[in-house]
């Protein structure tokens, strides 16, 4: 099936069997390998992307469901000149990543979290990150990163 959507600001078209998951269309057809697969039960959040601005698990939806939508993957978050998005910069600044495998999903979840809950405190951020597992960091620096990113996003908005 042909699916047409916008990915990271550019029109994209993929031809996939109807049962293809969005994550596989992104990784295998479009070679956007920043979106990772960490589980087969939609529990880990490593595959999180933004769909029309909202964080979704791209392993939990079909590629065809993205027809006409605007998808942002981690590859599309930084500015065109490579300048990191405030949330990416905050993760770096706060050491919110170690192996980096959960990181794309974590950063995109955090971006949505801060847009939808601009006033969330540390405790609420911990709850809102519930859909993403990180095995490396112990989350403390991720929470700090989200708080820093939240501030930076608010001031750049």
């Amino acid at each position: 099936m042909q699916v047409q959507f916008t990915v990271n600001g550019r029109a994209a078209s993929v031809d996939v069997p109807p049962e293809t998951l969005l994550v596989h269309a992104l990784r295998e057809q479009l070679r956007l390998t920043g979106t990772h697969v960490g589980c087969d039960t939609s529990q880990c959040g490593a595959c999180t992307v933004l769909l029309d601005g909202r964080a979704v698990k791209s392993c939990a939806m079909l590629a065809v469901q993205a027809q006409g939508a605007e998808v942002t993957t981690i590859e599309g978050l930084a500015a065109a000149d490579g300048t990191l998005h405030p949330m990416q910069a905050a993760f770096k600044e706060c050491h919110g990543l170690q192996c980096g495998f959960c990181t794309p999903g974590m950063v995109l979840s955090a971006v949505d979290l801060c847009r939808s809950h601009p006033d969330a405190d540390a405790g609420q951020i911990r709850e809102l990150l519930e859909g993403n597992i990180c095995r490396c960091t112990g989350y403390q620096n991720i929470v700090r990163a989200v708080q820093a990113g939240q501030k930076a996003m608010a001031s750049s908005a």
């Binding site: 990772h36 981690i74 930084a78 993760f91 495998f101 709850e127 597992i133 112990g138 989350y139």
Partner: protein, 802 residues
Amino acid sequence: MGASDFSRLPHIGESLLRKEDYRFLTGAGQYTDDVVLAAQSHAVFVRSPHAHARIERIRTDAARAAPGVLGVFTGADVAADKINGLPCGWLITSTNGAPMKEPPHPILAQGKVRYVGDHVALVVAQTQQQARDAAELVEVDYEALPAVVHVADAAAGTTGAVAGAALHDIAPDNHCFKWAIGDRTAVDAAFADAAHVTRLDLLNNRLIPNAIEPRAVIASYQRANDEYTLYVSNQNPHVERLLMTAFVLGLPEHKVRVIAPDVGGGFGSKIFLYAEDVCLTWAAKKLQRNIKWVADRSESFLCDAHGRDHSSHAEMALDEEGRFLALRVHTDANLGAYLSTFASAVPTILYATLLAGPYRTPLVHVEVDAWFTNTAPVDAYRGAGRPEATYLLERLVSRCAWEMGLEQDELRKRNFITSFPYQTPVALQYDIGDYPACMAQAQQLADVAGFAARRAASTAKGLLRGIGYSSYIEACGIAPSNIAGALGARAGLFECGEVRVHPTGSVTVFTGSHSHGQGHETTFAQVVAARLGIAVESVDIVHGDTGRVPFGMGTYGSRSISVGGAAIMKALDKIETKAKKIAAHLMEASDADIDFANGEFSVRGTDKKIPFAQVALTAYVPHNYPLDKLEPGLNETAFYDPTNFTFPAGTYICEVEIDPATGATRVDRFTAVDDFGTIINPMIVEGQVHGGVAQGIGQALMENCVYERETGQLLTGSFMDYAMPRADDFPDFKLGHVCTPCTHNSLGTKGCGEAGAIGSPPAVINAVLDALRPLGVRDFDMPATPHRVWQAIQQANPSAKT
């Protein structure tokens, strides 16, 4: 250069942001599954649904005929090609002098399967979906056999497997080895005379490592030169190559290149040589195709080596003042169905030798029985043996304190080792440490003084509050090779570093250590930049590729900086020596008069000086060069074999609050004070501690690998059933540091990667017990899930207070 000079260099102790982060944050990291080779095909494994069964027949015709299928292989093909089984890396000798039972560990099952998920057949097809579909068509007739699952059942010999169906012919009672250390006679005598004896039975729950990147392999065969390339999510590519070529496939090592690109966490689970890696390498040549296999998470649960799984009985003898006289331990260790790479070392050398802890215990005797069961192989997981030792000892020590009416901290302080070097009764010699300082700082950071008030506040809300202590010591960077060899190691334990100075003065370092999240590209660059007085940006680190790095033993056991970094330092010493000769020539001085500091060579007593980059250029543009005395180029390699382990230590304090109505346990405060010796990048070190503590609290409160006792079916086979810690399961951790630099490496570093997972489980469970003791709960096995805590409260006997 000595450790104290090193720690004063610029950048050492600075939290530089990580060089590797940009690629990870922008999706430009390259993990194994991101690599796509030309004409890549896909592998799927047919796995055993039974814990224990005889394979009567395998029919592969339908699978072979399915669309896109390139090959289907079974144990018969493996046998026909005379492929060896997977080797175990450590030989244990039983107390009776016999070698451990080392049954074959075939890469595809031979006649029998021994755990759910055991490899039965390999299917290779053009697409992954085709391989999956074809794998469904492989028909296997099994005759199910009785299974033994719990280590206690194996040890008791009560179940069917032991009675009628042992896993392996060479181990009819499923016993792999009995191993012991220490002076049993003296220990028994001390117990006979002791004023007080504390006894404790405990289980160390089995864990599933769950690195978030599942294991993945791509094997490629190049016919032109009969060479193989393997991309693999692995912590030590050279060891993978050594084990695979020398022990299993019988290939010349130089014909195989192993690349471990970006690796998404390991925690031990990616140290080992797995059947999948060998199967793909073997099949790549047979099919003349590039083949990829990526585990899905369900497979990871079944087939990654699991961790822990000990059942122990521990006894401590004390005098009237609470001084430890003797420790006696018996442990039954579950090895799973086969011996994984380090399986035999974990419950012996890496466990029993740590049971003296940070205490003066004059006599220790430890006996370990290791058993085969119908479960996934068990091997090193973050800490490997040290967490099991610390959990046992620190639970026992708190119990001693409670029984003797002492505070947990008081008993520890009375028994801390305070003079160094200290020879333990179980083989190790601690070079240095300051255990009371760690305790004092932890107590201050944890505001122990305010605990009584916090407990009163909890009580007022109808909640229970407890405080738990744990003082750990660990041994990092297994060493030295000759002693490890005498103890059964089948590999060396050195590390290799190559420093290549380029003509313009930038530097590439090739290290045998491997980073899978530990930040080597930054920390190692800091070391090199500091040592050479150049910018951190001028230093690049290459790791994880046997085709580029001269040799290596990889990363595990917190060895990277203390062994890998020390090897680089040794290469840097050689660089400095040669560079000084070039500088002496350029400045027409004698070698002995050249000083090197802050990136400049100078002639002592003069104002003559030249920068590092000029010397580098001269080495490669040797127009004005002492060619008669010196080779051009500035490139040195060093191998470093440490003379001893390093011994990080610390005290952890945990405070929990428990709701007796639900059993829900919340970690309210967690404090970790560690002595890692010299710290190069505090930000990275703290991140390592956070991650370790999270895994340790995970073990203590929620993580548990559960097999059904009779059938050996894995009940916790996904993230839905195996409780992985999430962000809201933790508070912020409070961290502190004490620094006694390691005395025997040039950096003074000790290693920090595993401490958190070692020190935290007993601190948490001691806190849980402290909270529940007033209700009469005396014992508690991890994990402290709400259900178990609630049950313990319901079953408590208030008159059994300690």
